[in-house]
Symmetry: C2
Amino acid sequence: MPAGGLDQRSGQLAELAQITHERATDPRVGEWLAACESDAELTADPASDAAVNLRWWRHSYDRSTKLPARLVVAMSRATSAGKAAWAQAREASDFKKFAPSLEHIVALCREEADAYGVAAGGERWDALAQGYEPGMTAQSVAEVFDPLRPRLAGLIERLREAPHPPSDDFTRLKLPQDQQEVFVRKVAKAIGFDFSRGRLDVSTHPFCSGTHPGDVRLTTRFADDNVNDALGSTMHECGHGLYEQGLPAEHANTPRGAAVGLSIHESQSRMWENQVGRSAAFWAWAMPQLKECFGSAVSRFDHAAVVGAANRVEPGLIRVEADEATYNLHIMIRFALERALLSGDLAVADLPEAWNAAYRRDLGLEVPDDARGCLQDIHWSMGALGYFPTYTMGNLYSAQLFEAARDALGGAQALDDQFAAGEFAPLLTWLRENVHAWGRTHDSAALCLKVTGKPLSAEPLMRHLEGKLLPLYGVQA
Amino acid sequence: MPAGGLDQRSGQLAELAQITHERATDPRVGEWLAACESDAELTADPASDAAVNLRWWRHSYDRSTKLPARLVVAMSRATSAGKAAWAQAREASDFKKFAPSLEHIVALCREEADAYGVAAGGERWDALAQGYEPGMTAQSVAEVFDPLRPRLAGLIERLREAPHPPSDDFTRLKLPQDQQEVFVRKVAKAIGFDFSRGRLDVSTHPFCSGTHPGDVRLTTRFADDNVNDALGSTMHECGHGLYEQGLPAEHANTPRGAAVGLSIHESQSRMWENQVGRSAAFWAWAMPQLKECFGSAVSRFDHAAVVGAANRVEPGLIRVEADEATYNLHIMIRFALERALLSGDLAVADLPEAWNAAYRRDLGLEVPDDARGCLQDIHWSMGALGYFPTYTMGNLYSAQLFEAARDALGGAQALDDQFAAGEFAPLLTWLRENVHAWGRTHDSAALCLKVTGKPLSAEPLMRHLEGKLLPLYGVQA
């Protein structure tokens, strides 16, 4: 959007927020819900389509009616201004330009959390997180993150001292963007993205959006000297897109036909990006494609060099450029900071200092400026506090679901053979049947238990990372 | 949109059409209008902001309330399906695939025209045309077109027999698209498009859209071997965009701040594309820019070659690729055909034959297939019957307004000197003050009379075409 459009857009979004809120909180909706709930037949089977829809519509209605329209409109206006202020501050790499907006947004978030209501023993963060991942609380996240952090730190430390880290020469190779596009489209098609029900375009920040399983829009991005970024972005967004295309179209526009939550959504993107796209088996198939697309430009790279480049671990400042192992540390830092902002333990003015201290402590890096520090992510400027942990929850679900798929599809060797032969349909079919088809029938934790037989744990992710990275770095397991 | 998204999109558009229609026809709107109209002070000066808004809101309300909601929804669904059917038929170059959709759309258009009501002595076409150009009737269009047709035909005939038609070698030159983009962006900026209040992107069919003078979105297109297409498309859409950016922002979202109609809108795009962009004076400025952007690739072309290429007249099958002189014949053919479709004089099944006969008669061309014939334009598939003549009306207004601007700015030589020096601000300022700033204060005919002192006539366009083209072709005037 050009700068001159900000006022009009802010006004439009605020108007839409108000209209949507009015409709969502119409007392007649409450009457309809109560009438349905009093029908024992409708709710007898909690996994029935009717019961699922009723439960989620009730959830949305109860949440919406707790918010005064005034606050909805104020949040819409504050985040419209906030996103613009963030973009300018990031451009100038000056947090002070964004601080007043963020102050305002955090104050409104607190008000919002208080309007939703904070459960006994809970905290404001929990109330906001329900909007992204129903059931998730700061406590439940901490219980997963706390044991994960030292194990990840230990792994990263061992890799840092490894005898032979893989080279990233392949990643940094200059390759024409139009050829990169041919390559990533080929991969997208091979893993099952249906182009008659979706598109792949280009944007600065890759995303997946869409309104229906028949219309799923992905974007990716290209840099002359980073084909792995284009590939990773494409496979990541394809993972989101495959989930959206796999939702039951006959239940479109109802909770029964919607994605269960952001964590499971992220598990799908991460699985195709990481468990598939960074595997040796995938590259056994992809190497010939690569040679076909880029010809002599890639002839000096063999399978080992390309797999090594895809799996290089190196602490960095930027979350969206992070490798599989260090990525989760970026999330843990954000989780701790937004929790402290909401509780009041951290003042907005002190955010850069706290951010930089965390990067020094957890990643061993000095943050040189705000643009590469606390201004790098758009989320908080959109009022999205309580969102970040879903990224790491997604990594955890991804690893755990992938182990279940592997066992169901004949074990690691069988799955590797399939990938190496370019056969990704068995995995996709398994995901369709075990994850996508359910829509919101089960919440994330219940779905995980049902499909994998166990509650979410850090073990599968650590098994995946250690099992792949330690041998690659020549470290004794 | 991917094919799989059609049903969902159709449903959404129909739902929006219904909601919009419900709001637009709310009886309270009628009460508010009546209350305002009874306030003599508000309407005392018909050019006051309040009177202008009231008049146009009344116009819209009266039109909307004549349409039953059922018809609005039916039209929305029919045109969603129609656009898809048209695209498929065009792809297959087979009118029969589109005919059932068009039958349905024409039937709904007739129903719509009858609902609006046909004035005594008028015809259905008039009722539909009001939606694009209030005040325009088939009769008034015919009165302009009938004398114009033989004069254009005579000019084209004289050019066809000319001693030395200009070469189009420059137009067909292969030039890299990224350099073309630099060139057209430079031109867009030079003629005054404000990039802080708008964008320029790429699409298959160029367009201008936007929601506010502060947020105007243009697209253009690029072909390796047609820089004049990219330049013409860009200047054309910039003309629309300059009008939108010039509308009074303080009256945004009201008729007082809206464009007067499609004909005047088109006059603005055509003026920058044709009166400016195809002039010798413009190219005196643009030649150095061209050489700077494309270097040695264009060194063999001089000013005369480039101006000649920009003004080559050659009857062709495709409207959007037509030159300044033959373009209007394409419009006249469509006008006659859609008028006959609505009156019932022409059956949908007979459209291809009638189309091809008209091209044979008026342009001397055999139409080889439907894709290059009656399937080339999207308009009818959108239910937009009554729209095409605004393109030629735009050409006429463009020529007449340009003559007035020229006289006000010191005459032809003074204006040429300004263009040759890259000074386009005087023309834009004149347009801002005399056209853009008025919004809908005056209708098109009244605005023309007020600004040029005369009713719309074919003379200025013919003077422009004959004055430029005959000397260029070496024909005695």
